[in-house]
């Protein structure tokens, strides 16, 4: 019985791999027109950005949900995404779209990531004392600070020059159509570094499924692990946000689909599955946007729409589970 579950999981993963490859190939080669040597590298960069984003979000969300032991939370709860909006809005408001912080994409990317990670670290520094406060206090504080930052952003956006606002808006919506190709390389490096570091945490995370007390009983250094995961998740979300902009619901959808699809507690498998589903959703979704909807809509609109519905479904399912 154990083996049969393992076997079906392998088959399921292989199916996901095939689907992911199919959507990547479709995106790269379908209806490629004009000068191949011009169009193809552009598509490669775009697809690479999507894959990096997809994996980063899936990875961060699964880890985050295990640590918080809640499957309807996403790392954006900590308010990292709001910090991105603040950084961009402040740059546009005070320095303008012609400033070096906007024109130099490395600088913009670097500033955003550093600000987001610093924000997260500061929050953890003051609120993460697992012996004193439960982790939910941290999340609540993150949510409230996130809302505060959001209001600050709207306040600045109301007063900003309308022309600047238009170009700012481009930064604040996730977009894969004008990916900054020079940032793909560095994002990939960050992602790979996170993966290497995270590989050591996988088995401890498996134990975390049993809850705090049992994890400590089995020799997991709980406080350290939670802190490490929170920092790792913040870096991953910061990277993907700085690369393409904030995507809210993607992580929630793909992690829960992975839990439903793959019957396992093993994080190595869950994260692999969630990453593949995430790639399929993002690359496949973008393919549909390009070739079926003819760019009449954007991928983030679709994701937020589908994600919103799925979120409501999860909430209803959970509340039923509690009542029944």
């Amino acid at each position: 019985m154990q083996n049969s579950i393992k076997k079906t999981n392998t088959i399921k993963i292989l199916c996901l791999v095939a689907l992911a490859i199919l959507s990547i190939a479709g995106f790269l080669f379908y209806n490629i027109q004009g000068n191949f040597s011009y169009a193809f590298p552009k598509r490669v960069y775009r697809v690479a950005a999507m894959i990096i984003t997809a994996i980063a979000i899936a990875y961060a969300t699964v880890m985050f949900q295990t640590v918080t032991r809640n499957r309807i939370l996403t790392p954006s709860m900590i308010g990292v995404d709001s910090m991105y909006e603040v950084v961009q809005t402040v740059i546009y408001f005070f320095l303008g779209s012609a400033s070096v912080f906007v024109v130099d994409r490395y600088l913009n990317f670097g500033t955003s990531i550093v600000a987001m990670v610093l924000f997260a670290l500061l929050l953890y520094r003051f609120l993460f004392r697992a012996d004193k406060y439960p982790i939910f206090l941290l999340l609540l504080a993150g949510m409230i600070i996130g809302t505060l930052l959001g209001s600050l952003v709207s306040f600045l956006q109301v007063m900003i020059d309308p022309v600047e606002y238009l170009s700012l808006q481009n930064k604040l919506f996730a977009s894969f159509t004008n990916v900054k190709s020079e940032l793909v390389g560095i994002s990939a490096v960050i992602l790979i570094a996170c993966f290497i570091y995270g590989a050591f945490l996988m088995r401890d995370l498996d134990v975390m499924n049993l809850g705090r007390d049992n994890a400590i009983n089995l020799g997991v250094n709980y406080d350290k692990l939670v802190l490490r995961v929170l920092i790792l998740a913040s870096i991953l979300i910061a990277t993907s946000t700085a690369l393409v902009g904030p995507i809210t619901f993607l992580g929630l959808i793909v992690s829960n689909l992975a839990y439903q699809f793959l019957v396992t507690y093993r994080h190595s498998i869950l994260i692999l599955g969630a990453s593949l589903i995430s790639i399929i959703a993002l690359v496949g979704g973008q393919f549909l946007v390009l070739h079926v909807f003819n760019l009449n809509t954007t991928i983030s609109v679709i994701i937020n729409f589908v994600g919103g519905i799925y979120f409501i479904y999860l909430l209803l399912k959970q509340s039923k589970g509690v009542a029944g």
């Binding site: 088995r203 007390d213 400590i216 009983n217 020799g219 019957v263």
Partner: protein, 254 residues
Amino acid sequence: MIEIKGITKFFGKKPVVEDVSVTIETGKITSFIGPNGAGKSTLLSMVSRLLDSDTGEVLLDKTDVKKLKSKDFAKRVAILRQSNFINVRLTIRELVSFGRYPYSHGRLTPEDNEKIDEALEYMNLVDIQHKFLDELSGGQKQRAFISMVIAQDTEYILLDEPLNNLDMKHSVQIMKILRKLVDDLGKTVVIVLHDINFASVYSDRIVALKNGRLVKDGPTSEIINTESLREVYDMNIPVQEQDGCKICVYFQSQ
């Protein structure tokens, strides 16, 4: 030997455990008893480093528990709390396999599998080892968790109200297994109990707490008597002998 020395814990400004010093003797069952809110579970949590104490120390064979590495501690002391909510689907065998985590970090060796088989056998779970936890009754689930702790193969086993929500049959079954663990395998068991009769019949030593303070600490025979129990529970409890066991008849006491 576990020595608890002058341990205190405050929740806010209220002391929940106040200046408690107890020595846990090896190769025995020690029961923590006392009224609700006496600090029994808190004390157990501090011994098992689930909770930091505000003052005082816990020594495991003369070494401060805080100085031990988590992985090493987990090979010597196991703790099981009363609420064990798990939101992933696990089979009994998978759960019990987690007991080997301190040794093999998830990569099970043949020796680990042997220990897991033994632990399942011990708790009578072999037939249903591939069932998922959410398909089990309360008693079976409790047995599965205790089986995990047995697979952990530690000298010390600490259990926080393991009889909670269990009927008489299953309670007796579990207490008998704990007795066996101590008598046959030489383990040391520390257990928080609500039913003083289980404490009286199965334990070697009793530690009684009240309002966070230690009231009584000694061999079971010295503590299960009307006078001592009055000090602990503020109740007049007649004690009767039945087949060599002391039974406290507290149902109609004033």
